[in-house]
């Protein structure tokens, strides 16, 4: 029963929408509602896949997205290690509170959080006003709508996805492992590199993917904080869908993005099994 339910659930919520997107990707754009003709109902050939690779527009957007997601995921994992280890060093009673503080901002709406970054970074924002007041800058420094602002927003949005799994894995490790390393002559840094890091590699991989996968398709944060020239896959798909109303092209781009995302998941599963 439970198994049949799970299959039905997956079929309804995962397989069916995916199939829908796949069918639309091979459809032909048309006037009307919905703005396409199904592949078997149209005489005109499907052009969306050819368009996708016709010029560098989509491919470079995809490459930028993958790069941004990889950097975001790497920084999230990198920040999560000291945070998780720091929290685990605190008194057990304090740990839940510290972890709560890390996750607390996520109780606030996503748009509000991004709005806060705008308030901080815009030309007449808090940071610029402070810099000018202190005489460290003579005029506003353009921080918003740039890559660093985009990265800050991405990190802020995705950090818990890396922190929580890594914290759980590090909390479950035998604390004697690092003591053994120290006992055998390792400095704290060496012990981290040779024991803590490799012993938690699987969790770090999971944390990386948990950030990387949703981050590749992210388009709200770049829209709100990123540079206008940074066309990312998410925004490209959005534009095709809502502005050009070329649903087949948008669907084809979505399927291509999915294909790119499957590669690291399969790779990770291979590594896990080893």
């Amino acid at each position: 029963m439970i198994r049949a339910g799970a299959v039905a659930w997956l079929a309804l919520l995962v397989a069916a929408p995916l199939l829908l997107v796949l069918v639309i990707a091979f459809a032909v754009p048309d006037e009307g509602l919905p703005p396409f003709r199904l592949p078997w109902a149209s005489e005109a050939p499907n052009e969306s896949w050819a368009l996708l690779t016709a010029d560098a527009f989509f491919l470079s957007a995809l490459a930028r997205s993958v790069l941004l997601a990889a950097v975001t995921a790497l920084l999230c994992v990198g920040l999560s290690y000291p945070m998780a280890l720091g929290i685990l060093r605190a008194q057990p009673r304090l740990r839940a509170w510290l972890l709560g503080l890390c996750v607390l901002p996520f109780a606030i709406g996503f748009v509000l959080r991004m709005g806060a970054w705008i308030g901080l970074l815009r030309d007449s924002g808090l940071v610029n006003r402070l810099l000018i007041e202190l005489g460290l800058a003579s005029e506003a420094w353009q921080m918003l709508y740039a890559w660093p602002a985009l990265l800050a927003g991405m990190l802020h949005s995705y950090l818990p996805f890396a922190l929580l799994p890594l914290y759980a894995a590090l909390a479950a490790r035998d604390p004697a492992l690092e003591e053994a390393a120290a006992d055998l002559g390792a400095s704290p840094f060496t012990a981290f590199c040779t024991v803590t890091l490799p012993a938690s590699a699987a969790a770090a991989g999971a944390a990386f993917l948990l950030v990387f996968i949703p981050a590749v398709g992210e388009f709200v944060v770049p829209e709100l904080l990123g540079p206008p020239e940074a066309l990312l896959a998410g925004r490209a798909i959005w534009q095709e869908f809502f502005q050009s109303r070329d649903w087949p092209l948008a669907a084809a781009a979505s399927v291509a993005l999915l294909g790119v995302l499957l590669a690291p998941i399969i790779l990770w599963q291979r590594l896990e099994r080893r």
Partner: protein, 311 residues
């Protein structure tokens, strides 16, 4: 190598774990620290290894106070109760870890250590692919790799099946003799401490209650705690009397009756009550059936078997 611990004091919050503890270990000996939970025995070991800092006191290793040194600079090595083998490294690399840190790695030395603990040829296994007994021996080989003058063992046999414990204990003893390393073993098991060590230190409430050879601490317990902790001693007034030192027969000086008889394998442990109401435990060889419960018996013992106790 000589280890002298001087007036070590350690509190966790308001709770003292060690109270001005002093202890001196002779070189090349096998010493057991025996105590119940909360006796401070694990804290003592962790302070010597450097994982905890003492509030006061000195740890003199060959005339040098190692208390200010971080763990990695202390010449002693530790074998952990959980073994703490590195799960991502092979057996060979686990043992090589300390040698690599010191820059003295030689594959031959690792193979020699594997042979020493009877695991030759298992170089490439991962810890998870080994049995508990094999893991224990890898942990031992790893700790011995750099030929430490002092090896600290935290409950080295606790994680093993009862059947493996005796054989592994004998193995520890052989390795201690062969390597000439001083072994300082923490255990809560009195049989283990008495059976393996040259010297037993009984810890109680953060202090050394008694230090001496196993036969001595067993036969001449210094305090009531030691007498009761090592075997089911009878306390009569200010004296301890071992159950096996009481004779039971038709003739004797103290009339009593049997309350209960408990089978201990090698012995029967009888709980008796004398005419004046004193409870006495009496050990009988298990060859013959014990007197039935409720029956009247006569007990006797040599006055010399009564050990006077200190505070």
């Amino acid at each position: 190598m000589s280890l002298r611990i001087e007036a070590l004091h350690k509190s966790f919050g308001a709770t003292p774990a060690l109270r001005d503890l002093s202890l001196e270990l002779p070189a090349r000996s096998f010493v057991a620290i025996l105590g119940g939970s909360g006796s401070g025995k694990s804290t003592l070991l962790r302070i010597i290894a450097g994982f905890e800092t003492a509030d006061a006191g000195r740890i003199m290793l060959d005339g040098q106070d190692i208390a200010p040194l971080p763990p990695r600079l202390r010449p002693c090595a530790m074998m952990f109760q959980s073994y703490a083998l590195f799960p991502h490294l092979s057996v060979h690399e686990n043992i090589a870890y300390g040698l690599r840190r010191a820059g003295t790695y030689q594959a031959a030395r690792v193979r020699e250590l594997l042979e020493l603990v009877g695991l030759a040829g298992l170089d490439s296994r991962r810890p998870a692919q080994l049995s508990g007994g094999q893991q224990q021996r890898v942990a031992l080989a790893r700790a011995l790799a750099r030929k430490p003058p002092l090896l600290l063992l935290d409950e080295p046999l606790a994680a093993l099946d009862a059947g493996l414990r005796a054989a592994t204990g004998a193995e520890l003893r052989r390795l201690q003799r062969e390597t000439g390393t001083t072994f300082l073993m923490v255990t809560h098991d009195q049989q283990e401490a008495l059976g393996l060590a040259d010297l037993v230190a009984i810890l109680h409430g953060g202090r050394v209650a008694q230090l001496g050879p196993p036969q001595q601490v067993y036969a001449r317990p210094a305090t009531r705690f030691v007498a009761e902790f090592l075997g089911a001693a009878n306390i009569i007034g200010n004296h301890a009397l071992r159950p096996e030192n009481i004779r039971l027969g038709i003739t004797g000086t103290v009339p009593a009756h049997v309350l209960r008889a408990g089978f201990r394998g090698e012995t029967w442990l009888l709980e008796c009550r004398t005419a004046d109401g004193t409870a006495l435990r009496v050990a009988l060889p298990a060859g013959a059936p014990p007197p039935p419960e409720g029956s009247a018996v006569m007990l006797s013992w040599d006055v010399a078997a009564m050990v006077p106790l200190g505070a």
